[in-house]
Symmetry: C2
Subunit: 591 residues, 2 copies
């Protein structure tokens, strides 16, 4: 079956959850209307369904990206699709107009990213990393560097990569050993081996702009001695044309569980020419910009693969006839969608997908509000966005494991057969809670940075916003009241966990961080439930106005399902945090 | 790394949880001592670690079983291993001595099955299906059939299969169309296509004994018109030697997500000679014997793959150095096992694995008590065993998805690389909640048959047993009391769900069955927690006697971890059952 972009739900989220009118009141978006977003996403949806979605099985069946000599080989269809992708300008969608971008708000960018990733996670990883490189250069690159690289990256003619990981340095980037030796001309000679480099080598784009963390000669040990370098695959002449091949070579491509058509390269830097970004020893700080953009984008990948799995499972369940209904309403076998447990699985998939989408789009709105104009920062909005990013990454990717697993389960035995296509989503999704910072890294970021750094201010501001929504729901009809009650209960669990964690983080860090992932999952589940609660309020008002009633009733019912089936996990997560550290750290279990 | 059979924990479970002294007081086990079990499992553990465990990667890397002509090709090492398996007599371990078996109790059989499956799920599927065929023939075969087939099956010289599924008949076996035409000599000509036949074709054993569901000429429609037939791959001469090749051919082997070295065959029966087992139209009844044995065994597979994943993750976490400890206790990076969240993941894996093992071994004890002697039945024990089997299947296999997923997560990026080996466990495990009846089928069996058929008597007897354990724990030390309190709380959730479900099952079956899987998971989680509670009681007594203190303290601490981190999901499952049906069935969501 083919993929269809869920435009109706996406546009609902952009319009009602992303602070759309506030965002588009900002100067950089003043010419943007809803119809621009709609037109762009509709066209991207058509292109993705027709051109990108068929790549998913193709790239996987071919056994993925292959290294031949020092070239990575992908099926020709990937080249054709990438060419069209560039020609249609999709890379540029949410990048600034003054570097050739379409300049649409981030909420639209997030939606576009979902559509592209749902079509094929592997293909979409190339633009995803390019987006990260663009963000990093926009914030930290010199004017000359921006002039040399940005336009080609934003057009998609060139692609970007992030080079962080080394065999001994994964989550722990302080252990990076790659060296950068300053040359007489001001450039640096980069030497070392980087692993797990997504789209680190390929022939889809004309050039690859590697952003590389390395250590200069006198740099201090640890994470504060890392600098960031631009290392292009082909050096760029002054007139912008491509020059000599740089001394960076792909020596291996990994054989992976999923996203097999996305080449994961081992790159050997043998004195490659690199150009310092910003100042020495501030590389990790710059890279965090790229990483935060990438973390948000990976969260969106979780939503994307969930929706793709849901669409497949729904179509199968509508088609596959098996067994009589349990209520005796038919004498013959019926489509399995009529069986309550199949419906249960599909509704979990749907509610988790829509909840994740709502959370991601709302977070994109905060990201936009954080930058009200060129060089300006709204500190409160930025803090809220930064609080939400690890939730988008942690919650949407962990839940995508459940959703893609349910997608297999709905298919029964057919789900286990590779040709059916849904096992691939289960395999592809498995990288999402790992790369760009594992779930534990997100949880440590949430607790250690986002909660503790401002003494819990943002964490409590978040709670107050959720409370406002719960209060509004409590004034509504029966469904709204039930959603509000569930939200209030989950919020109490959140607050109790927060109150327990904050003093512990100083007094007994092991006990605090033992609860970091349960706290992340509690907070992410609550945050998505909050957005679905906001959706239910919008829906209730629309129903009262007799507008779009069927869609709005479904929206409200989905929020209620989420509240009664998913949000209720908060009590157990709270208990894991506040009552579970002792048994978790008990040294009677020596391991 | 290599697999090591967890003998210490297995023997603990057999000795303390499987009603060992009652079981071995039965006449058929009167000559069996603990030392026999220990010796057999130790030898099997050695053999499995050395010979079987290396097959896992090998069979997977080779791309799995391949069809060449009408022969299925497996790597030579599989043939050598199977040969040794037969020579050492492992197929016979828990089969009756009067047909050449070792005659060990089922708890030992379950443990042996865990060890073999942990070594390689694919290889172990061949003996698993043979076990099922043996069970079916023991209970339903004529004396002549038993004489012809049992000894060769019990030795492993011949293997067995179950032929149920057809393209239109999966969970719904009433739709089976394969025909059986009675011949003049009393045999039947079997015609039709069977799919998803595990080890349906291979050259490991000399002959394959297919047990096939088919429909005779005048059979009623639906499930009550199915008969069971023996269809050997090679017909058997009167002297027991092999005769002509029967008209059953493998026409395809599936390309699967996991267990790739286990050939999943499409079998074409073109008038193959079959022999009726028992009476016509009672096939499903006989097949249920085989299916129940297989369902229990698949639950054990869940425990097995969980333990294998746990062993790998533990070894990696002990070895991989990354990041400083959060409590500042070291200035340098430490082995990741020191990080609280890695410990959390490992403890979840350990507790779920030991909980599943405890439940499976205890259930095996009830299965043995159900058959106190040849032809005798203990009805109460049988009802309890039948209540527990869907829990073993549903709980242990669903939880194996979480455990194998955590196994990947502990490995970080390396977990996603196929050569690491742990992605395979994640892939292999995915079939377990599907085959031999999906989780929903287990849940319907639990609610519709095991709970409702006797008006809830067994379900309440189960509750009373759990209560006894909780009461005993409440008399113990602080850890025991905490475990007892958690068990009591979860039991209250179980009882509330049961009280809600029983009247609904008649009044509003859709609402009842909408909660069937949450009820199964609640009950399975409780049942495993109950067995860990019993383990904690044993451990506390041993500690008081100063016996084996380190092991026993760890056992008790693992039970406490389970109680505080896993058992606490019962409240949310209860709410899904008792409060969730309305939002699940709400027709505002049209799907």
């Amino acid at each position: 079956m083919t993929y269809q972009a869920p435009l109706r739900d996406i546009l609902f989220a952009i319009e009602h959850l992303s602070a759309w009118s506030d965002v588009t009141a900002q100067p950089q978006y003043q010419d943007i209307g809803k119809e621009d977003a709609e037109a762009a996403l509709e066209a991207l949806g058509r292109f993705s369904a027709e051109v990108i979605a068929p790549l998913a099985r193709l790239g996987d069946e071919a056994g993925g990206a292959r290294l031949e000599g020092d070239k990575v080989v992908l099926p020709q269809a990937f080249h054709d699709a990438y060419q069209q992708f560039v020609e249609m300008g999709w890379q540029s969608l949410s990048h600034p107009a003054d570097h050739g971008g379409m300049g649409l708000p981030r909420a639209v960018g997030a939606a576009a990213s979902e559509i592209l990733n749902a079509s094929d996670l592997s293909f979409a990883l190339c633009p995803l990393l390019t987006d990260g490189a663009i963000e990093a250069l926009l914030l930290s690159g010199s004017e000359a560097q921006q002039n040399t690289y940005l336009e080609k990256l934003i057009s998609g003619q060139w692609s970007g990569t992030m080079n962080l990981t080394e065999p001994q340095a994964g989550s722990d980037l302080g252990r990076v050993r790659t060296k950068a030796e300053r040359q007489e001309d001001g450039s640096y000679a980069i030497s070392g081996t980087k692993i797990f480099i997504t789209f680190g080598e390929h022939e889809l784009s004309e050039n690859i702009v590697h952003l590389v963390l390395a250590r200069t000669a006198d740099a201090p040990a640890g994470p504060k001695g890392l600098s960031l370098f631009i290392v292009p695959k082909y050096l760029v002449n002054d007139d912008g044309s491509l020059g000599a091949r740089n001394d960076v070579r792909c020596v291996s491509v990994e054989h992976k569980l999923g996203v097999r058509a996305s080449p994961t390269a081992v790159l050997d830097y043998a004195g490659a020419t690199g150009f310092l970004v910003g100042e020495e020893n501030r590389g990790l700080e710059y890279m965090f910009v790229m990483m935060n953009a990438a973390r948000f984008a990976v969260g969106v990948q979780g939503v994307a693969v969930s929706d793709r799995a849901y669409q497949h499972a729904l179509a199968y369940a509508q088609d596959r006839v098996q067994s009589r209904p349990v209520d005796g309403s038919a004498r013959d076998a019926v489509a399995i969608i009529a069986h309550p447990d199949v419906r249960r699985m599909l509704l979990r998939m749907k509610a988790l997908t829509e909840g994740g989408r709502a959370l991601a789009v709302a977070t994109a709105g905060w990201l936009d509000l954080a930058q009200p104009g060129a060089g300006e920062t709204n500190a409160d909005a930025l803090a809220m966005a930064e609080f939400l990013v690890p939730l988008v990454k942690g919650f949407c990717t962990e839940r995508s494991l459940e959703v893609t697993s349910l997608g297999v389960q709905v298919h029964g035995g057919m789900g286990f057969i590779e040709e059916t296509g849904v096992a691939q989503f289960y395999r592809d999704a498995r990288i999402l809670p790992i790369y760009e910072g594992t779930t534990a890294i997100q949880a440590n970021d949430l607790l250690g940075r986002k909660v503790m750094r401002d003494g819990g201010d943002t964490a409590r501001r978040f709670a107050a916003l959720v409370q406002d929504t719960a209060d509004a729901l409590s004034q509504g009809g029966a469904e709204a009241q039930a959603i509000g009650a569930a939200l209030t209960a989950a919020l109490a669990d959140y607050t109790a966990a927060l109150d327990w964690l904050m003093p512990q983080a100083g007094q007994d860090p092991n006990a605090a961080y033992a609860g970091a992932v349960p706290f992340l999952m509690l907070t992410g589940t609550l945050a998505a439930g909050w957005q679905l609660g906001r959706s239910a309020l919008v829906a209730e008002a629309a129903i009262a106005r007799d507008e779009d009633v069927a869609f709005m009733r479904e929206k409200r019912a989905t929020a209620l399902f989420y509240a009664q089936h998913i949000l209720i996990d908060s009590a157990a997560e709270r208990a894991r945090v506040t009552l579970g550290a002792g048994s978790l750290l008990d040294d009677a279990i020596s391991l």
